[in-house]
């Protein structure tokens, strides 16, 4: 039987003692438990954690996936998913006052503390790619599973995709980093597919906003678009976010016969303005952007010229049938929270936090079953077992079907293509990329 060390107990605190006392009385699987019975003889408390930005400027984003993850732990304990073993939930905040939001240094300190705690088996987080850069090396060295609900920067897992990141240097130990959100590589492949196959645009003029996300997406789009047979006309325009007049570049695009205008970046940095100024430059060709463009500000900035513009964005999971139960469970569990936190649909990443934690729990359960319902005495062995299980996990959750490839990236790579119709964004179709890079329309 697994006995937590004294140090772990002190961290575990009162909540875990209460859970421990309940542990013995409820032996086998609960009424809705699916297979908890195999772990009926399991004894002990296993700690799972989240590391997300909860305060400062990120207070409108980070708490949602944290609440989602917490709900997954509560439900697992209620349903005795781990049989006689119990889960304890620890929440860490990677915001700092100095940064007024997510802080890579705070994230590193959190992961160091969690890795040193021999009861912690895995972490859901972080939210921001910049925080992941400091956390991945620590988690890798300490064999600590890290499942991000929101990191989209491909450089975190795919070598060579981001010139600013030495991907291989991040993993000094085991590859313990996973994510349930698709990367900008997938998004760029889907955008290139839409450009060449659906819009049949043979020549494109490219813009970006010089920032990590925007320029990264533009470079990836350029790569896949060229691979798919498209030609980039002129030289791609990489303009500062303060740019308001795009007539020079749009003039170049029109005389060079561009059949498509692509913008990698956010509406705050001019996505809607470019679309709005295309007509005056004599460009009546399609406009395509990434998830930074798909918002209401785009509609304001592009004005009367917004109609017809297309952009990909994260799948709208709030409308998925698989997520309906989750959102009603969330509303029931957190009805006492103040708005907006009492409604999980206010933030798309809520369901991603929930699924990430459920995937971690599923891997823990599989590892325990393999070890004959015993918690391994050595935490490093246990973490290694969980990482092995994560690499082969197959999970149907709120956001759909998730498995991980060798890089730890999700194979659930859907992006939804939206189009402005009658002055509002409308869902056009959802596309996905398979492991060999082929894009197909899912719905």
């Amino acid at each position: 039987m697994y006995k937590p060390k004294a140090g772990a107990l002190s961290v575990a605190g009162i909540a875990s003692l209460a859970v421990l006392s309940a542990c013995g009385t409820t032996g086998g699987g609960g009424p809705t438990s699916g297979g908890g019975g195999a772990l009926g003889s399991c004894r002990g408390t296993i700690t799972v954690a989240t590391d997300l930005p909860l305060t400062g400027g990120d207070a409108t984003d980070g708490p949602f996936p944290a609440y989602g993850a917490q709900l997954a732990v509560t439900q697992a304990n209620d349903h005795h998913t781990l049989g006689g073993c119990r889960l304890k939930y620890v929440s860490k905040d990677d915001s700092s006052v100095a940064q007024n939001g997510h802080d890579p240094a705070q994230g590193a300190a959190n992961i160091t503390a969690l890795a040193a705690d021999s009861s912690v088996i895995g972490v859901v987080g972080p939210f921001n790619s910049s925080v992941a850069l400091t956390e991945i090396p620590i988690a890798s060295q300490n064999h600590l599973p890290l499942i991000s609900p929101a990191n989209t920067n491909p450089g975190l897992t795919q070598p060579g995709t981001n010139p600013a990141i030495d991907t291989n240097a991040l993993y000094k130990g085991v590859h313990s980093y996973f994510r349930v959100i698709a990367t900008d590589t997938d998004q760029a492949e889907i955008l290139a597919y839409v450009a060449t196959k659906e819009l049949s645009a043979t020549k494109a003029f490219l813009f970006d906003d010089q920032q990590t996300y925007g320029k990264g997406l533009r470079l990836l789009f350029q790569k896949f678009y060229t691979q798919d047979g498209g030609t980039v006309v002129g030289s791609p325009a990489s303009l500062p976010s303060s740019t308001k007049t795009f007539s020079t570049q749009l003039g170049e695009a029109s005389t060079d016969g561009a059949k498509l205008v692509f913008f990698g970046g956010t509406t705050g940095n001019g996505c809607g303005l470019v679309r709005g100024q295309m007509a005056a430059a004599g460009l009546t060709v399609p406009f395509l952007g990434g998830d930074g463009c798909e918002d209401t500000k785009f509609l304001t900035d592009a004005g009367a010229n917004a109609n017809g513009a297309e952009a990909t964005s994260a799948p709208d999971v709030t409308k998925l049938a698989s997520a309906a139960t989750f959102y009603s469970d969330y509303a029931a569990a957190y009805s006492n929270l103040t708005a907006p936190y009492n409604d999980g649909k206010k933030e798309p990443y809520t369901a991603y936090g929930y699924d990430a934690m459920n995937i971690l729990i599923k891997a823990i359960k599989a590892a325990l079953i393999n070890n004959h319902a015993k918690v391994p005495a050595d935490i490093m062995t246990f973490r290694d077992d969980v990482i092995t299980q994560l690499h082969s996990v197959s999970y149907d959750g709120a956001i759909g079907h998730t498995t991980f490839d060798t890089n730890g990236d999700t194979t659930n790579t859907g992006f939804t293509l939206y189009q402005v119709q009658s002055g509002a964004w409308a869902t056009k179709e959802t596309l996905a990329v398979d492991t060999s890079g082929n894009v197909s329309v899912k719905s």
Partner: protein, 394 residues
């Protein structure tokens, strides 16, 4: 001692700096170049002095014009070589873009240069007066239902413009006068740093006010239907009436201003105040009123620039004028600060540097190029482009 600045710049600039200031004042006095000051009645020139002046200017600057045409052709051929199928067309298109952008810079630059010419103050709030005018224009257009009127046809458009321009220019002119009265007048005989700091303060105040009132995002002006028709296509370059409108308004107002300063009593008062404030006072000129009028005119021109900007680009943002103002100020310095013709020329030049620099070097370098040119000009010709010319004449 009311006019210590004219006696020598602070920090021991010495006689050289003093004469520089005198000469920059002289620029406002003698904005010659485009229209001759002394009319020689000879034949047709007497009937249409503007045309005659243009002919004289063109023949006098023939080498420069020839050089410009050659440079533009070289750019076109170079673009062709860079892999653009229609290099000359692209050059023509960018020339059009440069003129449209330059017209707006020129109108704003004149406001900077006029204020500097008369009280040696860099009015940092001027760019924000531009932004405020954009919001005034939205207000007036909504109040009078001008967007619907302008979309109704050519007659409605002319009527809408005839309402919008005077009303908004009046509002902005009064704003400029109030700023001068509140923030600058009492500091007129203080060290020059004091009004400079209040100018920055007024700029921050206006930006903060507009941010809280209008929000951080671009505010659409709803003027997309005002001027939509295409005028003509020349050598593959499509020119719309909107482009022509922007440049025509700028040139028209600049000529009107030139005529006002040369031909009216107030204009004469402005010139004499710029030349020597104390002497002007002794001659019975109302200095306060003259300076107020200068601020009124400068701000009204910024308002005209804002109106054409919002018809051309259809949005305004709370901090739009900050960057545009700095670029326009650069245009004023490039042309020779204090010189109205220089400000106009500088505006069009900066527009050209912005657009052609963006095309030839890359859009990310446009603003860097503007300031690089400024540094070069100030190093080798500190009084600006037209400064030297007038200095030798004066």
């Amino acid at each position: 001692m009311n006019d210590e600045a004219g006696a020598g710049a602070p920090g021991g600039g010495g006689p050289a700096a003093g004469s520089l200031l005198q000469s920059t004042r002289a620029l406002l006095v003698a904005p010659a170049g485009l229209v001759p000051r002394v009319r020689r009645p000879t034949g047709a020139g007497r009937a249409i002095p503007v045309l005659r002046g243009m002919y004289r200017w063109a023949s006098g600057n023939f080498p420069a014009i020839l050089l410009l045409v050659i440079a533009l052709t070289v750019i076109g051929v170079f673009l062709q070589g860079q892999g653009h199928d229609q290099g000359l067309t692209l050059m023509g298109l960018q020339l059009r873009n440069a003129l449209v952008l330059g017209a707006i810079y020129a109108l704003v630059a004149i406001g900077y240069t006029m204020v500097y010419g008369i009280i040696e103050l860099i009015n940092f709030a001027h760019g924000d007066v531009f932004t405020a005018s954009g919001f005034y224009a939205i207000l007036i257009a909504t109040l009078f239902g001008l967007n619907g009127l302008a979309a109704g046809g050519p007659g409605g458009l002319v009527l809408a413009l005839l309402i919008l321009f005077p009303v908004v220019m009046l509002m902005s002119g009064l704003t400029g006068m109030i700023i001068e009265r509140v923030a600058y007048r009492r500091l007129r005989s203080s060290p020059r740093l004091a009004p400079l700091i209040t100018a920055i303060g007024v700029s921050f105040f206006l930006e903060g006010f507009m941010l809280t009132r209008a929000g951080p995002d671009n505010v659409p002006t709803g003027r997309s239907a005002w001027i939509t028709t295409h005028a003509f296509t020349f050598g593959g370059v499509s020119v719309s009436w909107k482009d022509i409108f922007v440049v025509a308004v700028a040139l028209g107002l600049m000529f009107a201003l030139g005529a006002f300063i040369r031909g009216t009593r107030l204009g004469k008062a402005m010139r004499s105040t710029a030349q020597d404030r104390d002497a002007a006072l002794l001659c019975g000129i109302n200095i306060n009123r003259t300076i107020s009028v200068t601020f009124f005119i400068g701000s009204a021109l910024a308002a005209a620039a804002a109106i054409v900007y919002t018809i051309n680009l259809e949005f305004i943002q709370w901090n739009l004028g900050y960057r545009l103002g700095i670029i326009a100020f650069t245009a004023a310095v490039l042309g020779g600060i204090g010189n109205i013709v220089g400000a106009g020329l500088g505006g069009f030049l900066i527009g050209a540097i912005y657009v052609f620099g963006g095309q030839l070097v890359g859009g990310e370098w446009s603003e860097a190029l503007i300031f690089a040119v400024l540094v070069i000009i100030l190093t080798f010709r500190p009084v600006g482009l037209l400064g030297v010319e007038v200095t030798t004449r004066a």
